[in-house]
Amino acid sequence: MSEMARDVMDTRFHTLNPRMTVAEAVGIFEQASEESGRRVFGMLVVDCDGRLVGMLSVYDIFLLLRPKHTHIWGEMADLDLHGLLQAACDRARPVLVGDIMTTDLITITPDTHLLLIIDIMIKKHVRRLPVLDQGRVVGIVYLSRVFDYLLARLGG
């Protein structure tokens, strides 16, 4: 048993384009979740030449939706918040994926050992890692897959 990234990575995954709107990206998140049978919380962003340029996670979208002054009105329990979420969504929809994606990425290769993957996930607080082979994206390792794999080994 090789115990490398290639053993736990998903090789079928959706990607986003940096010029898509957030609204379009959300549609692909839903499609990816439906097709994979589990909720997808982050996706890779690749340019027209297939090069990895970033990643978009739900936290990036949360940051965009979060109003700037929540720390002020968040303590005011009697405020009428009606319409606020709708306004935040309306503002977020036309923003482009490339405007908010995260570009400081940690990548691994198909030959990265599982224990090193765990180490990266612990130290960097990441839940998914792009797998590159000679600069090309060949897979993605999700924390849940690593956990499933380890559970099987631990149990056995």
């Binding site: 990036d60 940051l63 965009l64 109003p67 700037k68 002054h69 720390h71 002020i72 009105w73 303590e75 005011m76 405020l79 606020l84 306004a87 935040a88 503002r91 923003v95 482009l96 490339g98 405007d99 908010i100 994606m101 570009t103």
Partner: protein
């Protein structure tokens, strides 16, 4: 515990009570593309630039980014090329009053806050944070106009400041067919953050702010792009006789940077009210507060 539970006057407030503890920073080599992305993502007007030891080296503001767009700098240009530095600092224990004085005399919109290491930012104090703090006091106050629910006499409204007393009078506008170059020249010449965009009949059809311009820069739009292509709509406004407290609440609640102020007809715009205007005023939103106003 929120500071407003411990104090009921504005005097004696310190920087620690108004500052934000999240400092958005990039390293000196970060491309301008990343700086723009951070301003959009974190909804800030400036990004701190630090070296490898997290020592503050400079600041890149939306104005600097607009200048880079105007000058045709590539988006790959390192932040260090256009940053202005060194950044100005204050300390958490400094009075808010002293910090405001520094901001006014230096004509800057923010101060970074250091702790034991004088070169390392632990927080940032900007005008919207100060007005946010004042607003929290105002809203809690028994005299607050925001607590009144109707049935008041005119006398009860007396003493509450109106928008016209705090707004910046005058407004700059530009026809929607004019280019982004013209927009930027107008903003720079008048030291403004936004201009109104007018359709052929002279009616205000939108607004272009520095945020719209730096997004155009990031998206690679040519400088000759007409203003209407990037303007934001609708124009958010208020009336000059509206209560200041309500206008501030509107801006804080709906994440609006500025309100265009009308006199009489909504289309007759006579000024602009921004959170910075409200912060520079150094008081709450009614005259009852003037006695405890931060010393000018």
């Amino acid at each position: 515990m929120p500071v407003i539970d411990q104090k009921n006057v504005l005097k004696g407030l310190t920087v620690a009570e108004a500052m934000r503890r999240q400092v958005i920073a990039v390293d000196t080599g970060a491309p301008l593309e990343k700086v723009i992305r951070f301003t959009i993502k974190y909804k800030v007007n400036a990004i701190l630039v630090t070296d490898e030891q997290q020592q503050a080296q400079g600041v890149v503001t939306k104005t600097d980014l607009m200048g880079a767009y105007y000058a045709g700098l590539p988006l790959e240009t390192p932040a260090a090329t256009i940053m202005v530095g060194p950044p100005l600092f204050c300390r958490q224990e400094d009075s808010l009053d002293a910090a405001l004085n520094t901001m006014r005399s230096q004509r800057i919109h923010r101060l970074y806050v250091h702790g034991e290491d004088p070169g390392r930012a632990e927080g940032v104090l900007a005008y919207p944070d100060i007005v946010g703090l004042l607003y929290r006091f105002c809203r809690r106050c028994d005299r607050s106009i925001l607590k009144k629910t109707g049935g008041q006499t005119e006398g009860e409204f007396a003493g509450h400041l109106t928008v016209r007393e705090v707004m910046t009078p005058g407004v700059e506008s530009i026809p929607e067919v004019k280019s982004l170059v013209t927009v930027m020249e107008k903003l720079a010449a008048n030291r403004l953050a936004a201009v109104l965009v007018l359709e052929a009949g002279g009616r205000a059809s939108g607004v272009i702010s520095k945020t719209d311009l730096i997004l155009a820069y990031k998206h690679g739009l040519p400088l000759q792009t007409p203003a209407r292509q990037i303007m934001s709509t609708p124009v958010r406004g208020c009336h000059q006789d509206d209560f200041l407290a309500e206008a501030i609440e509107e801006m804080i609640f709906w994440d609006i940077h500025r309100l265009f102020v009308a006199q009489g007809e909504p289309s007759r715009i006579v000024g602009v009210l921004s959170l910075s205007d409200a912060a520079r005023f150094r008081s709450g939103t009614c005259r009852a507060c003037l006695v405890s106003r931060i010393a000018v």
